[in-house]
Symmetry: C5
Subunit: 88 residues, 5 copies
């Protein structure tokens, strides 16, 4: 998983039917020190995250798991909202 900040939202009328009703959020991945790290991406949300929040997201095949038994065609999904994190 990776830490990320929610930057915004994508609006798409024409999309795969299995994405209907799901929020499409724009994420900026963050390093352990909280700095932007790597390219922005579009992710689904399974935990009620909103713009400006710090979250962590999962990539790949597991990104569809939170929507089971639905199978939206997603490769990135927010699976938690971060309260805080510590690094040594």
């Amino acid at each position: 998983m990776q830490l990320a900040r929610v930057l915004g939202q994508v609006v798409a009328t024409m999309k795969d039917a299995n994405l209907t009703g799901l929020k499409l959020l724009v994420l900026q991945p963050l390093s352990a020190s909280g700095e932007p790290a790597g390219r922005t991406l579009v992710a689904l949300d399974s935990v009620g995250a909103g713009v400006g929040e710090t979250v962590f997201f999962v990539r790949g095949r597991e990104a569809a798991f939170p929507f089971y038994p639905a199978e939206p065609p997603t490769d990135a999904t927010i699976v938690g909202i971060v309260d805080h994190w510590s690094v040594t």
Copy 2:
């Protein structure tokens, strides 16, 4: 998923039988600010996207989901046409 612009099309007579009749589009991934970000790729299309449009696409195992029960050997598929997006 990633935002991308559709740059063009690939023509291939000799290809896997499960790709027959499917459009092969050349995509340029975009950052959240709309700039080219990362390498171009070839993707299938499941939503009727055309050259010049802004889309988002999914990578990996999920890229075959929109064609179910067919299983084309694809690792990237356009799953939505972008109306607009916002970033804060």
Copy 3:
């Protein structure tokens, strides 16, 4: 798999139900010479690793295997604690 150092921990109250009770650790991948190499990430732990330890982790679909039959939505899981390694 990749070598990594455990840097810290993420605290998240609001998260996918299948992550409940699982530690979320912040990892710094390491090169074969023990130097930081690549971006930090968040991983689950299946072997009792703690902050400061050197571990190796697995990415992708296999990251959920150690929790079978549970299927937490994870794309990175620590699967071993490193005693030492040799390179020629």
Copy 4:
């Protein structure tokens, strides 16, 4: 998928039994403008491609699909020979 040029071939006597009889080709991925882009890799071939040809290949789980019901341990397979492509 990605565009690539076939650079050469790998010879390996000792290999996984499910790779027996399959060609192992060395590929150089190409950008949309036809320039080398990214690292060379080794791929299987499902369409009769030869050295010097321009092809496109699929990565990941789908790379084994063209060989079904066989399941060679491959993460990259050529699935088409490119006649030409256009970019705007």
Copy 5:
């Protein structure tokens, strides 16, 4: 798949039970010209490779295939020892 040189071995007493008895090798990926290319990683071995040898390895879900019906949590496995390769 990618070409790689076997650099060394990882010793880990505490690890996932499905890794017991399997060699954990440190690999340096190689370009088509035989130069180091990209980050070192830890891989399992399914063909009896040793330190100093040139091999090719598979990433992702397919990395567990050579151990079937066992399912070790691996994302990288050596599947062949390279005799030689040619590039044009």
